[in-house]
Subunit: 543 residues, 2 copies
């Protein structure tokens, strides 16, 4: 797709932002991977659910007790869209980066009934006769800090503004903003001063130091983790190795009293679900199956990492000037047998998991601690990943910045501090996954869009919309088109999205459908192609 | 061997050094690999030699015209010993790191007649019947920033002192100080704030971006270069990619006016001798064979890199406060068929090349430019790689530092500025390679030690010494032992070491042999084992 920046801003270089040096707090952004809303002892919802009780996460608990805990925080359904939204301040439907970026550039990560498009996976990528939709034209190469790179969204990054404002910016862990062979894949091009292990990889080849994190002749592939040679052939788990490197990287700014931004993006708890043996045994002893125990141990490894960072801040005497943000990139994976347990139940009471625009795929843990200014406790106003861009610059006191991209997010700092005006609780939040995730059908994941406004949420099944709108294929279904394709839920009453009330509230459904359509149309959002017609699928207001 | 630090200093942490902030210049240390003394248009010797005329190196020339050009600068015979001497200020015979460190820890890189010891190379490593000597007990894991790591020299690094004094310290390129799985392999543990591509690798798996620098399923091994994912699948040569990353890393300290130390250690011109196609064709057109053209193109790539750095310093307006050091880690490789030409002639007029204690293996390019203070022109006072530790701290104005290790080097800054006292021109410089380099015999490389005092140089053939000292094997040779094992050259009259004058100057030979023996004994230098007796080989004063 290779979108152009907005015309009026295209010629502007990012303006030098001004920053209030006296009020530059340190910022730690702790971003976890595939870690679900109920996968810790922290209560994000109105109650503690049975799934919460399975995890031992004392450090997340510790942070929650001093933080604003967001009960309605959202990310995208998969990794790259969230990560690039954080970096750009744009909704994923707006960047056109609606799926995860594959390791090799110009290679769609989409699946079809015929398999994946990627050479490294099986299958030709060609649509099969049974496929209603084929892949959209999307920005499959991710974000780019320079214009003109095919299939990318050109944008000024959050981190570059921080660096320009004097922050020492550190990237540790998973980047996954772009494919190899493009400028966007390199954290140094987005304003990071230090990069440990951030590449095109969306998952680690191996969590074990004994396997050199995948850097062996037998195991190497593009997801082998770089920069950790110190730990090769040792028992050091990947989460631990990354934490240690993060603390080393903090040494310079802490010693020289430079404000720092630490983006510590754990590869855990993504697949492969390999046990973190520091913690796994007690979960086995508690009767969990091996997959559940392994996953719980990865979670506890992340918790331990968080605790080490919090301890470090206290030991160095800088905890009182360090903001901590804790978040996940998408919902917990409920579609992976490695995790053990029963598929599609992992995020209960939320419906479905990673990949889905149902709540299990997009509602995520989020806690924010601002020393001395935090309204401790739950906040249920809906917020979304693209809010992190203006929020973090707000935290850093960076004002007056100009970006080549149009920002969609808003600062949620007022929701934490209680000072100033936060986002409207009724603003629409848009989710868009116009892709097929796996070569087999996942009806609650593939080709979904959604919008939340207040307590209402509309889910649009693009595939059903395409079927219904296609007269030749389904001549009799036309007048029930919207009914088949659109679902409406009241999240306050039905957090599990079990009761579609679209027929009961047709005006509300229409309002949300119109809002979603208008956003997707304005953003020129990627839409899949109807195999039978070769045209892009309809928006919900076209049904 | 796992040497202990000196007893009196063992309990000391490095003392906080004090540094004169007002006089903190930036420092760029440009360290080239396997790049010989006559492999550029720069005249390091008393004349330009025919080999000098084969290379196009305008940027080295440009630097030389403002620098002190050292005509008698020395490194060790192979890579790791030089690199660790720079980091520690110790002679390699003193660190016990006398050979290159292999990728996997606890694995000697030594060869024997039976092959290499390393699993990744062929052969069992066992000595064959014809072998006189077997491998020494040496610090095969390299340097360590913490005590207690087997087979390492524990030492405080040069870079940690710079960082502690406020320098922003950047590592780009080849590290090769230690084996994977040890703390010493990680540049962040030695005081670097940023590390690009520095690992256990002593060579690049591939110079080509089209081959992802070796990061492909087909080509991956431990020498695949990390941190360069941006350039995968592009025509970007490794030397260019590293240069670009170095300039990016400079962005933060330059913008924030922090003094910086950039250690830019090119992987070029090490094997594999693959052409840098930006430059190769003109050398082919000039009639060079493919190996010669490829090597010359790698050299010109390094020259281009140097030019890009010098240009950057000028563009940023910081050239007047930036010291530039240009050096090589050992002599040019004259024992590699990939390089084309005629073996063992590559470094003429110097004898032999990399691996050897003859001049071709150890005499290296060295230029130093100190803005506003440089005595421009040749300096022929002998200097050696361990001098770089105190020299660079002297440049940085770091005073009063204490190290757990005993320093062997001396500041050579007075030789550049003409102010203060430089090293005694008659101080002994020691070279020690108690190893077999390849599974085949290389009589001018394997098992040699040497000492230079003034114009005199003694070369000790340890193997001959061992043969001679072994009564049972060679009962008749005892009284000619030293004559067989020791060679004496006058370098002023015979730079090519073609005329052994030991018989003409027996007292000089004895004086140098005694000095060499005393040094090696005091440092507990690694010595090979005599296969026939199981004892370590004799020092020259024991013959």
């Amino acid at each position: 797709m290779n979108k152009k920046p907005l015309a009026g801003l295209a010629a502007l270089l990012p303006l030098a932002a001004c920053s209030d040096k006296a009020q530059q707090p340190n910022i730690v952004f702790f971003l976890v991977d595939d870690f679900g809303w109920v996968d810790s002892s922290v209560q994000y919802g109105e109650e503690l659910y049975p799934n919460n009780l399975r995890f031992n996460t004392p450090n997340m608990q510790r942070l929650s007790e001093r933080s604003t805990v967001f009960g309605n925080a959202y990310a995208c359904a998969v990794s790259t869209p969230t990560r690039t939204s954080i970096m750009t301040g744009m909704n994923a439907a707006h960047t056109g980066i609606t799926n995860w970026t594959s390791a090799v550039r110009d290679t769609p990560s989409d699946a079809t009934g015929g398999g994946f498009w990627m050479a490294e996976h099986s299958g030709s990528g060609d649509a099969l006769a049974g496929d209603v939709l084929s892949r959209p034209d999307w920005n499959m190469n991710g974000i780019s800090p320079v214009p003109g790179v095919p299939y990318t969204q050109y944008a000024n990054s959050l981190v570059q503004f921080l660096k320009d404002a004097g922050y020492f910016t550190i990237h540790v862990g998973k980047a996954h903003w772009a494919s190899a062979g493009t400028p966007g894949v390199n954290p140094y091009n987005h304003g990071f001063c230090v990069n440990i292990a951030g590449t095109m990889a969306g998952m680690p080849r191996d969590y074990s130091g004994m396997q050199n994190y995948g850097n062996t002749k037998e195991r190497w592939n593009d997801f082998a983790v770089q920069n950790l040679v110190e730990y090769y052939g040792t028992e050091t788990h990947l989460t631990e190795a990354l934490t240690q490197e993060a603390l080393k990287a903090l040494d310079y700014p802490v010693k020289h009293k430079q404000p720092f931004y630490l983006y510590l993006a754990s590869y855990a708890t993504h697949t492969p679900i390999q046990p973190d043996e520091r913690f796994a045994q007690k979960y086995r002893d508690a009767g969990m199956d091996e997959g559940q125990a392994a996953y719980a141990s990865l979670v506890e490894g992340v918790d331990c990492s968080l605790g080490q960072v919090l301890d470090y801040l206290e030991e160095k005497g800088i905890a009182d000037n360090t903001i901590v943000i804790f978040m996940t990139d998408n919902g917990g994976n409920s579609e992976n047998k490695q995790k053990g347990g029963v598929l599609h139940t992992q995020n209960l009471p939320l419906r479905e998991g990673k990949g889905s625009c149902y709540e299990g795929g997009i509602r995520v843990p989020l806690m924010i601690y601002v020393p001395g200014k935090t309204k401790v406790g739950r906040c249920d106003i809906p917020v979304i990943c693209e809010d992190m861009f203006p929020t973090i610059l707000d935290m850093a006191g960076v004002r007056g910045y100009e970006t080549v991209q149009e920002l969609d997010g808003q600062s949620i700092l007022p929701l934490v501090t209680g000072r100033g005006e936060g986002p409207d609780p009724e603003r629409p939040l848009v989710f868009h996954y116009p892709h097929k995730w796996k070569p087999y059908d996942l009806e609650d994941i593939d080709f979904l869009s959604a919008v939340r406004i207040g307590d209402w949420k509309l889910v649009y099944r693009i595939s059903e919309g395409a079927r219904s709108a296609n007269d030749r294929l389904y001549p009799d279904s036309r007048n029930t088109a919207r009914a088949a394709a659109v679902e409406l839920y009241n999240l306050k009453e039905d957090i599990g999205e079990t009761r579609n009330v679209a027929a009961d509230y047709p005006e509300t459904a229409a309002r949300l459908a119109d809002t979603l359509s208008a956003r997707l149309r304005r953003w020129n959002a990627p839409m899949p192609v109807v195999v039978a017609t070769g045209k892009t699928a309809p928006l919900p207001d076209e049904l």
